[in-house]
Symmetry: none
Subunit: 304 residues, 2 copies
């Protein structure tokens, strides 16, 4: 029985379409008509029902099924989803993104969005890659065992600092953030051995933050710096230096990508600390979530 010439369906390296066109000549006339339709527009074929496709190929459903078997599929539905997958794969690159650079003057919003997202995502990824787990570990240890944690930051980095403080607080660590330098200095003066001070500054040159960190260090607290520049002044007053990897672009300023990168680092530290005592952290989180529950309204019903 020379029947059922099933061609290796399981593995068609060049793709299903290539595979089909390869054995096109070996198909019967009616099947060839089907095959040609499929090859011409896989995506469209995937959308059609078997009856539809049969009609378009001027043949019967039975032939379409036979075609499916001929190219190694189980049946029509399988062919359909394979075609859909195939079609999706060959549409790929819409890459109009402006890499790393500034936004061009004439850019439309879609371009702006793509550019920002790309740079933001890359900053996050690259930051993670260059983060030293060993140093993170030490910082996490310090924070997890700290009597008190002060987080400092000014301007855009202030948001990150504030966020970190709030996170630590939520899992039951005693943490503070001060928007005001004077208060921060006062607080730093009250730190001591066993406490931790975290200073956040993208440029690493914010004198306020450096000053406060210096004070904290003088009092015996462990100091941590989070900056984009490993050689910047802030690193000189820090016991531990964590760096972000944002290639900040010129004018758009606001340290946009860097802020995301900072937040990522903060999140890592946070999760690390929380993991130190899972059950306690979880309980604290649940308690805090519960606390705001009454400020939530029921989930949205679909609009009629």
């Amino acid at each position: 029985m020379a029947k059922s010439p099933k061609i290796s369906a399981s593995h068609e390296p060049g793709g299903l379409i290539v595979h089909i066109s390869g054995l096109l000549p070996s198909l019967s006339p009616a099947e060839q008509r089907v095959a040609r339709l499929v090859v011409a527009d896989p995506a469209a074929a995937a959308r059609r029902t078997i009856t539809d496709l049969a009609t378009a190929a001027e043949t019967s459903e039975a032939t379409v099924i036979r075609f499916c078997r001929s190219v190694g599929m189980d049946g029509y539905p399988q062919l359909r989803i394979r075609l859909a997958a195939e079609a999706a794969r060959r549409v790929e690159p819409p890459d109009a993104r402006v890499v790393g650079g500034d936004i061009p003057p004439g850019a439309d919003l879609a371009q702006i969005i793509a550019t920002i997202a790309f740079n933001d995502a890359r900053a996050v990824e690259e930051t993670a890659e260059q983060l030293d787990p060993a140093i993170c570990e030490q910082v996490v240890d310090a924070i997890a065992g700290a009597g008190r944690i002060d987080v400092y930051g000014a301007g855009a980095s202030g948001f990150v600092a504030s966020d970190f403080q709030q996170k630590l607080h939520r899992i039951g660590r005693t943490a503070f953030y001060f928007p005001d330098v004077h208060t921060a200095l006062t607080s730093a003066a009250l730190l001591g051995r066993g406490d931790v001070a975290v200073g956040i500054s993208h440029t690493g040159t914010t004198s306020d933050v450096i000053e406060v960190l210096e004070q904290a260090r003088a009092r015996g607290a462990a100091t941590v710096a989070l900056t984009n520049f490993p050689r910047s002044p802030i690193t000189e007053v820090a016991d531990f230096v964590l760096t972000t990897a944002a290639r900040e672009t010129t004018y758009r300023s606001g340290a946009m990508a860097s802020r995301l990168a900072q937040l990522t680092v903060v999140d890592c530290l946070f999760v690390g600390v929380a993991a130190r005592n899972r059950s306690r952290a979880r309980k604290a989180l649940e308690a805090t979530a519960e606390a705001v529950r009454s400020h939530r309204v029921g989930p949205g019903r679909r609009r009629a």
Copy 2:
């Protein structure tokens, strides 16, 4: 009220999966079970028959159909094909990283970092993909031409709100943020036609923010909602709805990835507004940068 906010319903080029996870909370329990299966493994779902999937989700075929309709498909076959296409597009199974999931108890810091960074980066990318430039454009227009802009947000979203306020302020737009609900309500009551109110809430269920936005809308201001869930209550009081696409994981809470996604959206709006009047924005930015210069120390200073 609820005059159908502009949720790009048909427009979800950012991926079906993202779209579905955004809709998840607005689905009924049985539909959610289906949705979770689909999101967890789109490729596998595409291979299943409707009966199969229904059984796996411990529900009936009818519910699966309802689910298809809920996410905007015609029926099951269409969903299947879209899923297959989707699954094909996202290529690699990310090796050790824990996708979208929680951090495993025994994870070491390197793993934690990789996981967080991956999810964060993805949230940013997927958010950008599903953002509707047309709606952004309208929002940017509104903000660029607004007499006054109020930004509302509570908890974690409060940071984002505050950040947005600060950004707008830096380029010379009159913007406010209020950490306190009462003050916010008061301010909202003073808004009027030509003003813009932006409400940020990851879940879209924060009653405080909804309330304030509602007030603003009643006074004639254009209202913008930024949330992860396109069917959540906040969208009912918003003229424009912008969505993030963070698949927030369970316990680690704090809406970590979502916050980055929110910031990305905020940045896009910011740059969009700044681009409306480049020279003025640039001048404002330079002025603000100049203002803090004296708080910066020279690079590589030796310890003082």
